[in-house]
Amino acid sequence: MSLFFPSRWQGWYRRLLSCLVLGLAASGVAAQTLSSGSQVAVDEAPGDLAFSANGRLLYVTSGSTNTLSVIDVVAGKVTARPQVPEVACEPGRSCRSSYGTDRIVIDGLRNRAYVTETGQGALLAFDLSTRAVVWSVPFPDSPMAIGLAPDGETAWVKTASEQLLTAVDLVKGRRLRGDIKLEDERGSAYDVPPRIAVARDGRRIYAGDAYGNGINVFSTSSRRKLAFLESTDSPFDMKVDSTTGNLFALYRDGVVEHAQADVQPSQAFRFCRRYRSLNMALSADGRLMALSLFQENKVLVVARDTGLISHAFSTREQPAELLFSPDGNLLAVISAGERRSWVSLLDVATPMDITHYVSRHGELFCIPDGAGE
């Protein structure tokens, strides 16, 4: 299609086509077409994303360029690309220059972003207004997972090879004494990313156990293991529901919800058929759950109370990390390809007619035979 137009018209032409498709979708003519939402190009190798406290800005890390793409979600475009300064490689350490920023959490109170730097192995506090590194906490290996305590003063970090959960004082920028020692010394499994989640009250921390097949529950005060939630798998993703405090664990055959009180399974969402999903998001209002299906380039949103699909979207490339905006009206999804990487901004506030999609592809979650209702 674009081959007819001079290159200087390409941008306009894409917009025109996007408007055409969106217009068709809005008019109901294109009921068979999945919406792709608003697509924002970001820097290569996006790793994670986080909303600002008011939800107007979205920060996306780029491991390749070591930048943060700051997206104005209302305008739907990148407004800034601050460079995250590189951390000097300490003598005697093997640092990987091809890796950069990866995980990110936002501290709205201090207007900071806490970013893991996987190349040199550090946790950085990045001031979002001055765009300067406030402090840097080195780690002997690449930090792969980060969990922020509810008080905003402590972060828990899991590195790639260390069998430790390390607490970091976010105020002073230093490691706290008393690491939580994970029992398995074999290191992380290659096919399961390390996942941690901090309980809503901050008193417990959940860590996926790739070898023990389950979830370890630790006390953040005593650093002791409280429980082991045995399963057949290690979770691909874990999220804590901000409304109930329940833990949601994503597995290869569905999602298990664990009650906050006793951390035992309270209810489950089982896939209707074989899906592949590594990433999950929960809306802050407790209404919605979203999963990225990376083999199908689709993102499905389900109503938590019914387990039925409410929205279905397609992405340009394989969808990965996804996150609801604080008000729950927007879903941001990373989709990274070989050449270009995108963040899709998906409207989940407007009801969507997904009749055609469901008739063709079926629901995401089905109550299995013998499970009752």
Binding site: S231, D233, P265
Partner: protein, 424 residues
């Protein structure tokens, strides 16, 4: 044997070959004597089993055949599996035009030296030569087929091509017809390809990454349906050898192209027929594609994982259990046009899976001329074979390949078929 024959062609001449064999096979003369001597000059057996030139009834092919009518009244048969091009002349004899059976290669030269590589699609140029699509890679589906020409003497030459431009604007009328899903696909992929970049990236070897259908128009230009860059596109090679992208934005997805007796070019996509003009395409008819999918729940059952272990122990949320869906096939599969031709009255013939159809000009409807029947063998039922190639010879017979893979059939008036040449 063939290398020997190249060095000493006299000994391999068909008039003397039996002497040669007799000399080297003395201990087995008794066995040789059982071969009817009279058959030697009539039938040319190859060193490859199952490859025989000679009278149509006795000729044998190796398979993957496609048929083309020559203006001189003969029929060219591309024997894909043998990597040869053969001719069924008006006297009813099959002979090898180019290539050596079983010796595959992409080598230019005269009839003896040239090696062919799975010839599959042919079209005749105004000067009588044929342009031929072959596979250059390891397999027929290898993504590097090539174009060569072959003249009446069997000389095979590679086409020298160079990058050209695009032809024609996008036909607005057709654009409106494109389904929303196609638009979505465009947004995903095709929009990224700017015209300048496409022309710049077309190195000579990759001008036509995967040609699948070929025709020659009245101006001598070669039209090619090409599935380059994961998209079906139509390319036109002008008489100077420049390759142009025809209607690059039209997304016609042509798979077959053929020239009607009146000179008009026709194209067939998966389920639609078009008349092709210099700078626009006219949609003549389309068959509604019946959507059929194997129920996904049954095709990809969910694994037994952590949630499976919780069945009966916790509450599950989602779609309520439903009675198991049994996959049922519709009475007709979606259209899949695989061949395109014209009868002597100029009516369009199209092969659609196991059917041979004719487009009726008055009603613009398709009439079924032939449908491959199911067969039964040892109590099991087998679906009939797809119609893979079709042509109309000088006597008006509709020839096609499909019922048996190593034979060329002719359609009888009653809708049945008879073998013209070849066998099991």
């Amino acid at each position: 044997m063939d290398a020997f024959c190249l060095r000493a062609p006299l000994l391999c001449h068909r008039q003397f070959r039996w002497l040669f064999f007799a000399f080297f096979s003395c201990p087995f003369l008794s066995a040789v004597a059982q071969v009817p001597v009279a058959s030697i000059p009539q039938v040319e057996r190859s060193a490859v089993d199952g490859y025989i030139d000679g009278p149509a009834a006795a000729a044998r092919f190796m398979g993957n055949l496609s048929v083309y009518a020559d203006v001189d009244g003969s029929v060219l048969i591309a024997d894909g599996s043998a990597s040869t091009l053969r001719r069924l002349d008006r006297q009813g004899r099959v002979s090898t035009v180019a290539g050596t059976p079983g010796e595959r290669g992409f080598i230019d030269g005269d009839r003896r030296k040239a090696r062919l590589s799975y010839p599959a699609e042919l079209a005749q140029l105004p000067d009588g030569r044929w342009v031929m699509i072959e596979a250059r890679g390891k397999g027929r589906s290898e993504n590097a087929p090539g174009l060569r020409t072959i003249d009446r003497q069997g000389n095979v030459r590679r086409l020298v091509l160079q990058a050209g431009t695009t032809i024609g604007p996008a036909p607005v009328g057709h654009e409106a017809r494109i389904a929303a899903e196609a638009l979505e696909a465009k947004l995903r992929g095709e929009v990224r390809r700017a015209p300048k970049r496409e022309v710049r990236e077309l190195a000579p070897e990759w001008l036509l990454p995967s040609p699948s259908g070929v025709a020659v128009d009245t101006k001598g230009r070669i039209w090619i349906a090409d599935s380059g860059y994961s998209m079906m596109r139509t390319m036109v090679i002008d008489t100077q050898g420049r390759v142009h992208h025809w209607l690059p934005g039209a997304d016609l997805q042509l798979r077959e192209i053929a020239r009607a007796p009146d000179g008009v070019l026709w194209g067939a996509s998966q389920n639609a027929l078009f008349r092709l003009h210099d700078d626009w395409a006219e949609l003549v008819m389309s068959v509604e594609a019946v959507e059929w999918m194997y129920p996904v729940d049954l095709a990809y059952p969910v694994e037994e994982g952590p949630t499976w272990a919780l069945i009966g122990k916790v509450r599950f949320i989602g779609r309520k259990p439903q009675p198991p869906r049994v996959p049922t096939r519709p009475s007709r599969l979606p259209a899949w046009f695989t061949g395109l031709g014209f009868d002597q009255q100029g009516r369009v013939l199209v092969a659609d899976r196991k059917q041979l159809l004719r487009l009726e000009a008055e009603s613009n409807q398709l009439t079924t001329l032939f449908e491959a029947a199911e067969s039964e063998y040892e109590g099991r039922r087998y679906a009939g074979r797809d119609v893979e190639s079709l042509a109309v010879d000088s006597s008006g017979r509709i020839l096609m390949v499909g019922e048996r893979p190593r034979a060329v059939h002719a359609l009888r008036a009653d809708g049945s078929v008879e073998i013209v040449t070849g066998g099991e």
